[in-house]
């Protein structure tokens, strides 16, 4: 049996709601083993695109392929290999966490397996609240239960729409660890949309950035960040001499000293070691050199 490398292929996806073009010619590919970041400001078309991948929304144009096959409403069986949490984690609040998962397992035609239900509850840290009614859960607990239900049928592809919403810092770390476990130890492919860009930077290996329904950029996170400018925070024994040296060597740069006596400027990623070497060779003692290359800065730059 051939194993497909591309689990999700979107080609020229389009969706129009009335006069609003929510998604306009969106194409991307998610490969097996990816943690694929889906980035974009609110209303950029991320959720609509994810819903089109899952067949919740019918595209006006374009095509989605899941596991190499065209995904449409007739091909719903493909969803047996997908686990998804879309937007808010809504459940039957009058039922317990365990009962909710039992029902969802039955919808997926899975055999009755309480051990599996307890296993996934354990993975998200809700084992001891299995019998509690969902109406007693905090937003963070519902979020974790939402992730648990995606794992029930042991899918190859997991799609999580804003999975970190409502989580406290410890919860965020736990979910981040869980995502790594799912990806690296269990071989799951993940698509994650999140507005917490720092988390995406930590977790995703590839990403697509969408704004106003259009793809701005797609590729490996590291490569994309490398191609962007980095922010340098520099502390030396002689700030004035440092600024003069940098300006002489790189006239296009604009180093400035802040109130903390730090020198701050932006430059290309590959210039960082050269600047450091030049300063040291000129007799300047470099106490601190931070090259901040954040996805947030990158995101703001390209969506501006």
């Amino acid at each position: 049996m051939m194993i497909e490398n591309s689990l999700v292929e979107a080609h020229g996806l389009q969706k129009q709601f009335g006069r609003l073009k929510a998604v306009d010619d969106v194409s991307f590919t998610v490969n097996r083993g990816d943690i694929y970041g889906f980035l974009g400001p609110n209303g950029s078309g991320k959720s609509t695109t994810i819903r089109m991948i899952l067949g919740l929304i019918k595209p006006n144009g374009g095509e989605v392929k899941l596991f190499g096959q065209t995904m449409n409403r007739k091909n719903f069986r493909l969803l047996g290999k997908v686990g998804a949490l879309i937007e808010r984690p809504d459940f039957y609040n009058y039922l317990s966490a365990e009962k909710n998962l039992q029902l969802l397992a039955r919808y997926s035609n899975l055999p009755k397996d309480d051990a599996r239900i307890h296993e996934v509850l354990d993975m998200v840290g809700l084992r001891d609240r299995a019998t509690s009614k969902v109406r007693t859960f905090s937003q963070g607990m519902k979020q974790r239960l939402g992730i648990a239900q995606t794992l029930l049928h042991n899918p190859d592809l997991i799609i999580l729409d804003e999975p970190l919403n409502g989580l406290d810092p410890q919860g965020i770390k736990d979910v981040r660890d869980l995502l790594f476990t799912l990806n690296q130890e269990m071989g799951k492919t993940l698509i994650i949309s999140s507005h917490i860009l720092r988390e995406m930077e930590l977790v995703a290996n590839r990403m697509v950035v969408i704004n106003r329904g259009k793809v701005l950029v797609e590729g490996e996170v590291k490569t994309l960040l490398k191609s962007s400018k980095v922010k340098i925070i520099l502390m030396t024994d002689d700030a004035v001499k440092t600024i003069v040296l940098i300006k002489n060597a790189y006239p296009h740069l604009n180093p400035e000293q802040n109130k903390l006596k730090e020198i701050i400027f932006e430059t290309a990623f590959e210039d960082v070691p050269k600047i450091n070497q030049m300063l040291v060779e000129s007799g300047v003692s470099v106490y601190q050199l931070n090259a901040l290359n954040s996805l947030e800065d990158y995101f703001l730059t390209i969506t501006a």
Partner: protein, 278 residues
């Protein structure tokens, strides 16, 4: 499909709202039975005052059948609301709660999912009507004896006690079909709504509007009256006429089954083509 229907029933009967219909029927029937038990004779004397001047009426006319006939009259007034509350929530409730996203992202066909919900709505409706049968004919037997029954329609019909029970069963069966029409209508509205109140209000509005048109003696509405389901809702009374008008009964049932089918097919079409955005 059986699995999906079971799931729907598990969800349905874990909700308090589901039992409102049963509680309301329990109350309606008990109130009517209590009223008839205490004041029934006075009421009947008033109703048949003119008859007693002409006929000699002997025995107990306030019996289980007379009371059940009064209860049956509530069928097309109260039960439609109770039916619509649940049928109108089956699809829209999932959209309102956001749980549709959980269901539609499972490997389940939309046709099967909706059909399971439609069957659930109709079985629930049947259960309500059967509960009405239980309350009126079985629980009622604890308070009232059996006996002959007088029905005043266009003519006076007096039925022997041995000739009544099957008529009630047939009337309740007919009533069940008519409530399936109301349930189907509420379900149809439910497929295109994101809250439960809308389908209930919409189906009740249609019911009221069609009832007004049905009862209006204005010529311009006459051509459409045979096609309105409200024309047939109180057709259960046909089983308490002599001779029985089987042609009218079968036509009425046929038209109501037509409505039930059309409502299902329309709901299915909407649901299959619907974008799940909630």
């Amino acid at each position: 499909m059986t699995n999906l229907i079971r799931i729907e029933f598990t969800k349905l009967f874990r909700r308090g709202m589901t039992y409102i219909g049963f509680a309301a029927i329990l109350l309606i029937v008990l109130v009517i039975q209590l009223g008839m038990f205490v004041e029934g004779k006075k009421l009947l004397d008033f109703l048949i005052k003119s008859l007693s001047d002409v006929f000699v009426l002997e025995g107990n006319l306030i019996n289980i059948y007379t009371v059940s006939y009064v209860i049956l009259n509530s069928l097309w007034i109260h039960i439609p609301i109770l039916v619509a509350i649940v049928a109108g929530d089956l699809v829209s409730g999932e959209a309102g709660r956001g749980t549709f996203r959980l269901l539609i992202t499972r490997p389940v066909s939309r046709t099967k999912l909706l059909t399971a919900k439609y069957i659930t709505a109709q079985v629930y409706t049947a259960m309500l009507v059967l509960f009405l049968v239980f309350m009126s004919l079985i629980v009622g037997r604890l308070f009232f004896a059996s006996g002959d029954m007088i029905v005043l329609m266009e003519t006076i019909n007096i039925f022997d006690s041995t000739d009544v029970l099957w008529r009630f069963m047939a009337a309740y069966g007919y009533g069940m079909v008519s409530m399936w029409v109301v349930s189907g209508l509420a379900f149809l509205f439910s497929t295109n709504a994101t809250n439960s109140l809308g389908p209930v209000v919409a189906s009740m509005s249609v019911l009221i509007l069609f009832t007004i048109i049905t009862n209006f003696s204005i010529g311009i509405f006459d051509p459409i009256k045979p096609f309105l389901f409200t024309t047939y809702l109180n057709g259960w009374q046909l089983f308490f006429a002599e001779p029985l008008d089987w042609k009218s009964i079968s036509t009425a049932i046929g038209i109501m089954i037509g409505h039930i089918t059309v409502f299902y097919l329309a709901a299915l079409y909407i649901f299959k083509h619907k974008d799940i955005q909630s």
